[in-house]
């Protein structure tokens, strides 16, 4: 509890510190969970900072819908995207044959488009060269002759209109062994032979690194994926200089430049911000300062964020779940309703819950805390209920026969007797939340998810461990803290073995 209070205070202090220059324009940049998007985002960060704005980069957000909803609701000002994605997914259902049609449709949402930037990062299907040669495959329609091949596709590609469902229909592909997985992991799947074909982005740095064959799209199924920036219309008033810069970038990033930048980040391990700074300097002749954080700085920041997510969500959950558990134990009807409701909440996939919460709470810590709060309810409600339910009937009778009113019985007898069980429920909630909170990285909530997703994105084990190890340590520490708490909070009489 003390730690939580400390954490809240620290964050409040940080909030005050960051708000000390109210006259500066605040710009919030978003990017998706892959390196190219993060680099394109960082380029905007450097340009905006150059204009004197206070910039925040909500990087590696999970999925187009997260970014789009955040842009519409004003949580973000600008993010990089692709015309194909906009036409096929963001504004799916509209007939948008060209860029002008897209601009017109975006204007309905007060969103403007800068670009194209100069490269087309379209989807493609890739295989290992030797495997493809052995099977005699050079184009996508050749896959039809090999129905037993295993495919691994990014999760977005599995669902998109321009993804696997329509690709397989257009090419009449019948492969049944098709797995949806994180895009960065599919390269490793291909390399190890677990899958034989995967979806690629045509500017992926790994195409050269893994020496892959990009299959010819002989039916020209894939639409154009020209890189663009989407920004809110009000940005033109708030930061006219930045909007000018965004339009000056049109045509300035050819495919070769983007592949090179991707390669610097992913293969040469140059920080994304440095890659972007180099580009800005070469293109505009602007020197930009690069702020580098040490590993320790990052660890401290992520720990603080993670603690904040977990502690606030669990504290809120305790406040609601314990009374709910008491109510569930007191009334059979309410009990069934409460237990099944919190049970159903638990079955909602966390990513789905995050996306549902974004229109209500925006991106960042708020929806993550809300989701973690909802997930914490079940273990605490259930354990409170069980703890109360397991109190022997003669104890209930004795308390009642003494003439204690119902509320006093709960406070003086029942809750203390259930304390061990309730505490165990809270412990379960905390330990689960320490793990689940890493998924907050998808929606810009910070915490240990940030380095973990960065590690996956860049295929860098050190970043991955930078999040995974502290998360595991935090879970273990939480266990320890609760064992100590049990000694203090569970009445001594309940920890004794009967003498007779």
């Amino acid at each position: 509890m003390k730690t939580a209070a400390f954490c809240v205070l620290t964050l409040a202090a940080a909030g005050i510190a960051s708000a000390q220059t109210p006259e500066a324009v605040q710009i919030r940049v978003g990017s998706k969970l892959f390196t190219e998007s993060v680099i394109l985002g960082e380029i905007v960060v450097h340009l905006a900072r150059q204009q004197g704005a206070v910039v925040e980069h909500r990087d590696q957000l999970g999925g187009t819908q997260v970014l789009w909803k955040a842009l519409i609701s004003g949580e973000l000002d600008v993010y990089p995207d692709y015309t194909g994605t906009i036409a096929e997914e963001t504004l799916a259902g509209l007939d948008l044959p060209d860029d002008d049609a897209i601009r017109e449709a975006l204007a309905e949402y007060s969103v403007l488009m800068a670009g194209p930037l100069g490269f087309n990062n379209t989807y493609a299907i890739g295989m290992q060269k030797d495997v493809a040669a052995e099977l005699g495959i050079t184009k996508i329609s050749d896959l039809r002759k090999h129905p037993d091949l295993a495919f691994g596709f990014g999760t977005e590609f599995m669902e998109r209109e321009d993804g696997w469902p329509n690709l397989s229909a257009a090419y009449k592909l019948t492969q049944a062994n098709v797995r949806g997985m994180e895009h960065e992991l599919t390269y490793r799947g291909l390399d190890s032979g677990a899958i034989q074909a995967m979806d690629l982005y045509s500017t992926d740095a790994e195409i050269g690194y893994y020496d892959l064959l990009v299959l010819d799209d002989d039916l020209t199924f894939f639409p154009k994926y020209n890189a663009v920036y989407l920004y809110r219309a009000d940005l033109a008033e708030r930061a006219p200089g930045l909007v000018q810069d965004l339009h000056r970038l049109e045509g300035r990033i050819p495919e070769s430049t983007m592949i090179a930048m991707n390669g610097q980040s992913k293969l040469e391990q140059v920080p994304d911000t440095v890659v972007a700074a180099r580009f800005v300097q070469e293109t505009f002749g602007i020197e930009t300062s690069v702020k580098t954080e040490t590993r320790f700085d990052r660890l401290l920041k992520h720990t603080r964020e993670h603690l904040f997510l977990v502690s606030l969500s669990v504290i809120a959950a305790v406040c609601l779940a314990v009374p709910l558990g008491v109510l569930a134990a007191k009334s059979r009807l309410a009990g069934q309703a409460i237990l099944s409701t919190v049970g159903i909440l638990q079955t909602i996939p966390s990513l789905a819950l995050f996306v549902v919460l974004i229109p209500l709470l925006g991106i960042g810590p708020a929806p993550a805390i809300c989701a973690l709060f909802l997930y914490s309810l079940l273990p605490i409600v259930r354990n409170t209920y069980t703890g109360l339910h397991d109190i022997p009937p003669q104890i209930h009778e004795s308390a009642e026969a003494l003439g204690l009113p119902a509320a006093a019985r709960v406070r003086l007898i029942e809750l203390p007797l259930a304390s061990r069980s309730i505490l165990a429920g809270i412990k379960t909630a905390v330990v689960i939340n320490v793990g689940t909170a890493t998924l907050g990285g998808f929606i810009g909530a910070g915490g240990y998810g940030q380095p973990i997703f960065k590690g996956i994105r860049l295929d860098r084990t050190d970043f991955l461990l930078e999040g995974a190890i502290p998360a595991a340590v935090m879970a273990l520490l939480a266990q320890g803290v609760f064992e100590l708490a049990e000694r203090r909070l569970v009445p001594r009489g309940l920890r004794l073995k009967p003498s007779a």
Partner: protein, 250 residues
């Protein structure tokens, strides 16, 4: 002081107590006895309002045990059950004084009453700071009795208070209990299944079977003027093993 008129209780189709009348005068001891499931514990729980009767009324000091009054009236009764029903998270002292502290008695009054009861129940003083799990069965029952007597109730209800104790401790506590009843002059309703114990305590014994009081009277009346064969066989069932064993010896 206590008057039950036509009280009955059923759970679904099973009647655990047929319409029954029972009364107890101030300062007397009544013992309810009978085989398991005869309804004797049900009768006791009806008196203290843990169960609401389907029919009939329970009058305590001319007030009906219903609704809001139940909580208040219970504080004028003491209730002791077989295994003590002590709260495991509280020490013996806290168990005994829980209600007094809840009602806001000051420390002086609490400790004065506590020491009176410790003397009365012969509880070793060092037991007060122990938790129920650290007490023997006999000590637990003494603490349970202290708890029941804390507010100095007019009526004491005991549901097989000695049932779980071994014979030596039981005998000791039996004599202590009788002494306490006699010295305090309280109205007592006690449930037991042991005819010897019933005779030891009771002014009046109520023998129950199948949810009815079969016969009400002194032990002598039950032995010499049994209402039916069941009364005779119930009494003989408990007396014959020892007597036949003694017969073999002599």
């Amino acid at each position: 002081m206590l008057r039950l008129s036509g009280v009955s209780k059923s759970y679904g189709k099973q009647t655990v107590l047929h319409p029954t009348d029972l009364s107890a005068d101030a300062g007397t001891t009544r013992v309810l006895i009978g085989p398991s499931g005869c309804g004797k514990s049900t009768l006791l729980r009806l008196i203290i309002g843990l169960i609401v009767p389907d029919t009939g009324t329970v009058l305590f000091e001319d007030q009906q045990m219903t609704g809001d009054k139940v909580v208040e009236l219970r504080r004028r009764m003491g209730y002791v059950i077989q295994d003590g029903g002590l709260f495991p998270h509280l020490t013996a002292e806290r168990n005994a004084t829980l209600m007094a502290r809840y009602l806001g008695w000051d420390e002086n009054r609490v400790s004065k009453r506590l020491s009176e009861l410790t003397d009365l129940t012969h509880l070793p003083a060092d037991s007060l700071s122990r938790y129920p799990a650290q007490l023997s069965g006999g000590q637990q029952q003494r603490v349970s009795l202290m708890r029941a007597l804390m507010l100095d109730p007019e009526l004491l209800l005991l549901d097989e208070p000695l049932g779980a104790l071994d014979p030596m401790i039981r005998a000791e506590l039996q004599s202590d209990l009788r002494e306490i009843f006699q010295s305090l002059g309280k109205t007592v309703v006690m449930v037991t299944h042991d005819i010897g114990e019933a005779a030891y305590f009771a002014d009046n014994i109520d023998l129950m079977r199948g949810g009815r009081i079969v016969q009400s009277g002194t032990l002598a009346e039950l032995v010499h003027q049994p209402a039916d064969d069941f009364v005779t066989s119930f009494i003989n069932a408990q007396r014959s093993p020892l007597e036949s064993a003694l017969g073999d010896v002599s």
